[in-house]
């Protein structure tokens, strides 16, 4: 596969992934900010593990979701390279 195609595929993937991670962060800020703030003051142990889960979910699950969406839409993605 040539460089131009790789860059094009990556750009498509990044646009979809970018929309997903940004939406995720905005939703987390809108709906989880207050409960997480309360948890920080009430129970740091649960806060610590929930925090890691949120980060891992944003990184790993959304990438899987991106691949799934691109496959469903019939668009090229990195795993098909």
């Amino acid at each position: 596969m040539n460089t131009k195609t790789i860059i094009k595929n990556l750009a498509i993937e990044l646009v979809v992934y970018g929309i997903l991670v940004t939406t995720y962060a905005l939703l987390a800020l809108r709906w989880l900010a207050d409960p997480i703030n309360a948890l920080f003051h009430d129970n740091l142990l649960i806060y610590a593990f929930l925090g890691l889960v949120l980060i891992v979910a944003q990184a790993a699950l959304l990438e899987r979701l991106t691949t799934f969406l691109l496959e469903r839409l019939g668009l090229p993605h990195s795993e098909s390279e």
Binding site: L14, V21, L29, A48, G51, Q58
Partner: protein, 303 residues
């Protein structure tokens, strides 16, 4: 936007931009990028205790994204990564104990800070000299760019050590190497990381290339794989101590996740020596930032 956990008000676009920059650098060089993200977060007003913990949190997510991308490109040696983690964990604890011992002597910040500068300058200088030599070798000796390393003496001696058990690392193209060499390498990088209070990616990557003889691209991917666990563990321990603002980390991760993918894919279009030459500038940037902080704190102490 207000972040009540850290008690600061920061523009989220600035945080996402920091994430993006360290994401690109992390994906390309296989480092956490804490020595750049840390000062930038501190300058934006994030309290110092939150800087380290929050940086580790976003580093975890960024490393997952970058390591997965490197794994698709065939740049991760999972066996090597898992084995190095064993040494790294023990090493981090040893490094932390050394710090405690230095604290009892006094002036720990200055001693650790200048040791950090010395290590950064040594790594940067060595990598720069070696990579320039390797690039010259490609042109003069007609060596394949991917294989060229300007300093192989130590690697050859290390691979002659036949201390059992011997293992193979097919993903790195190594037929036989002592398990102890890998664990001790992890131990050394972990001790330095624990002593300096950093993730240690900038130590591990050159160590894997020059000591173990791992190809540069695989060293980068494997380092990122290891950072997932070290930074993840650090996130938990710092969060339990109340030093992580997960909302700041999530915003930074938005930029970092995209940057890490770009950085990771970019490695595919550069030869090992060129990546190492570009990498050699990173420790110098880190050293300048540390010297600035050290001189600033000295001036503060005088006043």
């Amino acid at each position: 936007m207000e972040f009540p956990i850290a008690g600061v008000e920061i523009n989220p676009l600035y945080l996402a931009a920091i994430g993006f920059v360290v994401g690109v650098l992390g994906g390309f060089f296989g480092v956490g990028g804490g020595f750049i993200a840390g000062p930038m977060m501190f300058l934006s007003g994030v309290p110092m205790n939150f800087v380290v913990g929050t940086d580790l949190a976003h580093m975890t997510g960024k490393s997952i994204v970058a390591a997965r991308r490197h794994s698709i490109l065939g740049h991760v040696d999972f066996k090597l990564g898992v084995l190095m983690i064993i040494g790294t964990i023990i090493g981090v604890e040893i490094g932390a104990q050394v710090v405690e011992a230095i604290k009892e002597i006094g002036k720990a910040d200055q001693i650790i800070g200048w040791a950090y500068v010395a290590i950064l300058v040594a790594i940067g200088s060595f990598t720069a000299i070696e990579s320039i030599r390797a690039i010259r070798m490609i042109h003069t000796d007609k060596i394949e760019a991917k294989e060229a390393v300007g300093f192989t003496g130590l690697t050859k001696r290390i691979q002659l050590i036949r201390l059992k058990p011997m293992i193979s690392l097919p993903a790195s193209g190594i037929a036989s190497i002592s398990l102890w060499v890998i664990i001790i390498s992890g131990l050394i990088s972990g001790t330095l990381a624990g002593f300096l209070g950093v993730g240690g990616g900038f130590i591990r990557m050159p160590l894997m290339v020059y000591v173990l003889g791992i190809p540069t691209h695989v060293a980068i991917g494997t380092d990122l794989f290891e950072i997932i666990f070290s930074a993840g563990f650090g996130t938990i321990t710092h969060a339990i101590k109340g030093n992580v603002d997960i909302m700041i980390a999530l915003i930074m991760q938005t930029g970092a996740a995209i940057g890490a993918q770009i950085g990771s894919v970019a490695t595919h279009h550069f030869s090992g020596p060129r990546i190492r030459l570009l990498f050699s500038g990173m420790p110098f940037i880190g050293a300048i930032l540390v010297i600035w902080r050290l001189l600033d704190s000295s001036a503060g102490a005088i006043h």
